[in-house]
């Protein structure tokens, strides 16, 4: 049962040096009570995908196409009339009325943002307003979930949530300011804020990247226990494939704004039909006898992407194909290699 289905999402940004295709034709789905791990290097578009789902993208032009289905409702419904896109080869023409688009999107997202879909961020200390007490910020989220809750009641609920995320002395922390908390504690506070309305989906945008390894394990354990308790689905964004090994049911790999692979966890870690990029990522964490297991080359500049398949300058699989020039000239579409395993590579496409 897919609780979130993203189809052909495109989010572009205009910069002085050119058009940045941050999220380009990304499609995936999230099943109920499952964990999807979005993996990719910095700049591959994972964070922008998460922000697009929640309507947090403020720059221009932003989301220009696609569908985001939450249960049976398309969040990008009715927005096509404000945004017209034409592709002429390499040139993209975008006509978008940003003001009206934002308003319509915001009204589509009422009752969803913060209530049914929550998000936690990468650096928890700077994601909390330094001028307000931590308790106030939790209460904001609680009052968002249900406007009828009064101040006192909200405070009690906030303290109970701090207990649920396993913070010691919750009554003191409720009155604390964000700069007084450590990284792990403020991440727990962020989790409490996100879960205050008991959402169906939690998007975790690299929540453990800035924490030290012991705290990392605690937070991951906390997330998993809360997932079991409240029946949530989690989208976990990270650049660390070993976390995916631990907690993921499905794994999506992103590269240069494209989703290059979407497969169940076991398929990936058993090296079944995997994309060369994923193979490179796996090789760099699994200890092998060869010490030079790295992907040669560098992540491409978002403005000047390679032609054809975006990964081909770094790909070792190209030579084994009958027609290696195809990788340089045209981009493979994402297709199913197996029933639930889709991949974007000419080797595995028919």
């Amino acid at each position: 049962m897919a609780i979130l289905k993203v189809n052909n999402l495109r989010t572009y940004f205009q910069s002085p040096r050119g058009l940045v295709r941050a999220v380009d034709d990304v499609s995936f789905e999230l099943c109920d009570r499952q964990t999807l791990c979005l993996i990719g290097e910095s700049g591959s578009g994972k964070t922008i995908t998460a922000h697009s789902i929640l309507g947090l993208v403020k720059d221009y032009p932003g989301i220009i196409g696609g569908e985001i289905w939450y249960k049976d409702k398309n969040l990008l419904n009715g927005l096509e009339k404000f945004c017209k896109v034409q592709h002429n080869g390499n040139v993209v023409e975008i006509h978008k009325d940003a003001g009206k688009w934002e308003k319509q999107y915001a009204s589509n997202l009422t009752n969803i943002r913060g209530k049914r879909i929550g998000i936690i961020f990468q650096e928890p200390v700077s994601s909390l307003d330094p001028f307000f007490k931590v308790g106030y910020q939790i209460e904001e989220s609680i009052q968002n979930s249900d406007e009828t809750i009064g101040k006192k009641e909200a405070r009690e609920i906030a303290i109970s949530w701090l207990e649920k995320v396993k913070i010691k002395f919750p009554k003191q922390i409720v009155n604390a300011y964000p700069h007084e908390l450590s990284g792990g504690m403020s991440q727990r506070v962020m989790i409490a804020i996100a879960l205050a309305s008991k959402p169906d989906i939690l998007i975790a945008d690299e929540p453990t990247t800035s924490l030290d390894p012991t705290t990392q394990i605690e937070i991951l354990g906390l997330l998993q226990s809360l997932q079991d308790e409240y029946g949530m689905s989690i989208i976990f964004i990270t650049h660390d494939l070993s976390i995916g090994a631990n907690i993921a049911d499905t794994i999506g790999v992103m590269y240069a704004g494209r989703l290059v692979e979407f497969a169940p966890r076991d398929n990936i870690f058993n090296y079944n039909f995997i994309h060369p990029y994923t193979e490179g990522l796996l090789n760099s964490i699994v200890p092998n006898n060869n010490s030079d297991n790295f992907i040669r080359g560098e992540v491409p500049n978002s403005i000047s992407l390679p032609s054809g398949c975006k990964f081909h300058p770094r790909c070792d699989l190209m030579q084994t194909l009958n027609n290696p020039l195809m990788c340089q000239e045209s981009e493979p579409a994402i297709e199913f290699a197996e029933s639930n395993h889709s991949i974007r590579c000419w080797k595995f496409n028919k």
Binding site: Q14, P16, L19, P61, N90, V91, V92, E93, I94, H95
Partner: protein
Amino acid sequence: MYYAESSQPMRFRKGFNIHIIVGLLLSSFFLLGSVLGIFLSDNLTHPGYEHLPPSDPVIKYLLDRQTQSSFQLESHVSDKFYLLGTDMEGRDIFVRLLSGSFNYLWGGFITIVISILLGIFLASLKYYYTKSQLTVPANFIFNVLDSFPRIIIVIIILFITNFSFYALAITIGLLNSTKVTMIVGANIEKLKNTQFIEAAKELGVSDFNIIIKHILWYNSRAQLIIQIIFGFASLILYEATLAYLNLGAPESIVTWGKMIYEGIGFKAAYLLKNGLLWESLPAALMIILTLLGFNLLAEGVAKRNSENY
């Protein structure tokens, strides 16, 4: 709204936006005058008089015509062409404008040198060497300078030094140094704990080098340029305001403020009705355009430097 991507996206060459261009245009007279003024340097004491020797009957002719402003493009007896006419005493307005801008240039130069040197000195003591012995006195001097009522201090110092123009420039430099201190201090504090500064210190780069080269020149050049522009603008502003109050520079130095004052001053009867008369108008326009040009220039530099661009 229309966006297209092609192989060469079209935009201004990085470095010039509309603010800088308009700002440069408007303040160009100032810059022009400052350059040309170098060639007028031997006539700085009596600018404009070089066209009219004292015994010229034209002066008498002009002085007799007390009630009329003298914007005339006709050449006089000496068949010189006066671009903007002459004022009551027969001095060529255009030449006086040029020479005024030259004086402002030198005064402004003194102002900015003092304000930037003192500002960097105080900011380093306050924010960089935070544990040294000189920090508390530097802090104290900064706070005292910051809390002076500027216009009164300036007037008092003008009285003491007998209205010397360069004393005014030095005083304004001292008073503006607090703003420079705050800006430089903010930059030092922002960059002090970054890793590249730490690395530089480990490599043995001297403190002087770190502050001047790495923090200031590489990272806060734009803000210093804005402070320099602000220094010139504040000198012109103060000088014009004080000259209007009859506290301006003495005879030998020509400034735009003085030209405004002289244009109005003798015509008290016209003051209520007309406000401003022709002799003062070129100088007033010049002040407005130059200040506007400076402000736009500063805004353009700030916009170019910010990430929003």
